[in-house]
Amino acid sequence: MTTFLELLVNGISVGAVYALIALGFVVIFKATEVVNFTHASLLLAGGFLVAKLHPALGFWLALAAGVAGAALVGALIEFLIIRRARVGSHGVLAIVTIGVDILLTTELTREIGTDVLALGDPWRDQVLHLGPIMIAETRVVALGVAAALITAFLLAFKFTGWGVAMRATAEDAETAALMGVRLGRVSLSAWAVAGALAAIAALFLCVFPTPGLDRSTTAAAMKAFPAAILGGLDSTTGALAGGLIVGVTEALMSGYQSQLAFLGRGIGDAAPFLVMIAILLFRPAGIFGTKELARV
């Protein structure tokens, strides 16, 4: 039972971090209808900046720089490439983002080399004892930060002018433009926000118990894709639910791997994708995704 609880709490906290990544993914999709495959490299860029800057600036300043840097990279991708790509189909733009991702990731992994970079976080390897359950402090912080950020975003979507503009654009860009919404700004802000969220997610993906930032960090980021898709690509609530489902599934499958030996080793890594496929079979738009509904 203790093991189960530990796995569950760990799964939820990692899931919350996946949810952060998935949220960025969803924000871009809502604002521009582009499936953004550069997300993993945005995350790597944010983490890389924190890792490189923390010895000189200290952790908090480096984190701020990493978040700002990743937001800037996101905004630049939008401004220099997505906005100017005169292609009709969003599918083509998605492939363009794959190209950008390959470029960025190649450059960053070249910079990182074979190193495992520490991010200089203040929580180190401290462990919290909650009764019989032991959990890394980083996981608790991750859960708290992710929950706070996701709540803030859900509220912003609902209540701020930015959120209303974003949702209006997501639903009908031309009509939103007729209301005076500047679509370029909406799109730019979405990419910047996604970059910032990716940088924060990078921090929590690279701290204890993970050894640090290395070239495989992008693989961890990829798990947010099934999270976003199974939740529903255009749903912020779906990103949260998807992140948690992926996190918990992965933690439980990895934790009980010995009992699941017949499935082979490494089932934990594959589990999120299996869950995604299973859910999409029954709900093709994801759990919270919008089914095409229109009154005519």
Binding site: G161, V164, A165, R167, A168, E171, D172, A173, E174, T175, A176, A177, L178, M179, G180, V181, R182, T290, L293, A294, R295
Partner: protein, 275 residues
């Protein structure tokens, strides 16, 4: 604040890629007036509004010559700039944000307005024009009836405090009673000081509201003049009002689709198909 001049469209040509949609179109909407643009499907009515509101690029179109100016200075083809200048379009087919509530739709309409007092005033005006929207602020717009959605669509545009409202077929697909109600509301909006450029296929309704009207045919202005004159013209009556000859004269009421005459003239047919 714009000057005394209203909307001036001069020698406008619009292309969608190689396809010409408008040529040499001149339309003037004086300040405070209601001007109607009539025409069959594909005549270029919606294209004309898109050219004014700056949304041609969403349809891969562009102005190839001519100008659109409002208040004496040119509109540069950006929708946000047009809204900022007070030129706001109500799109065809209502296009409310179906997943958002009524209140959120109204808020979206005011996104281009910075001044909060103005937004509050606009909301009061809209609520008094359309009390039903005030009663259901939390209802999802997609669940409103067609007529209510049209009201919301007009209300949303009014939230931007337009001095020029562009209406694209506001009575399309509505029951005659609801169409008459929308027409009455358009008149009221105009009486409150907003100029209106009304694109309609319901010519009876449009000519009843407008002081001046234009008839578009295949992208060009075929006829124009005071609405009353056009309503009396044989050509317009035959083509758009469903009335054959001046002898079978009948009053043209708002929203009242004139029934076919007792002894109809031979219907014009497409020669290519009947040859």
């Amino acid at each position: 604040m714009a000057g005394e001049a209203g909307l001036e469209i001069t020698d406008l040509a619009v292309h969608y890629g190689p396809v010409r949609a408008l040529r040499g179109v001149r339309v003037t909407v004086p300040r405070g007036a209601v001007v109607a643009v009539l025409g069959a499907n594909g005549a270029g009515k919606t294209t004309l509004l898109r050219a004014v509101s700056g949304t041609l690029r969403f349809h891969r179109g562009g102005v190839t010559s001519g100008t659109v100016s409002f208040g004496g200075s040119r509109l540069n083809g950006s929708p946000a700039a047009a809204v900022a200048r007070g030129v706001v379009q109500v799109p065809e087919g209502r296009r409310v944000f179906a997943r958002m509530t009524v209140a959120e739709n109204l808020r979206a309409g005011a996104l281009g307005v910075r001044d909060r007092t103005k937004v509050a005033e606009a909301r009061d005006r809209v609520h008094s024009l359309f009390p039903i929207l005030a009663e259901r602020p939390h209802q999802r717009a997609g669940l409103l009836s067609g007529g209510e959605q049209q009201m919301l669509s007009i209300a949303r545009a009014l939230m931007a405090n337009p001095s020029m409202l562009l209406l694209d077929e506001p009575t399309l697909g509505l029951a005659p009673m609801m169409a008459a109600r929308i027409a009455a509301t358009i008149r009221e909006i105009n009486e409150q000081g907003t100029s209106v450029l009304l694109v309609e296929q319901n010519a009876a309704m449009a000519l009843g509201l407008a002081s001046h009207a234009y008839v578009l045919e295949v992208g060009e202005v075929a006829l124009s003049g005071p609405a009353a004159e056009l309503a009396a013209s044989d050509e317009v009556r035959r083509r758009y009002l469903g009335v054959g000859t001046p002898e079978t004269d009948r009053p043209v009421g708002i929203g009242a689709d004139a029934p076919p005459e007792a002894t109809p003239r031979p219907v014009r047919t497409l020669p290519r198909w009947t040859a």
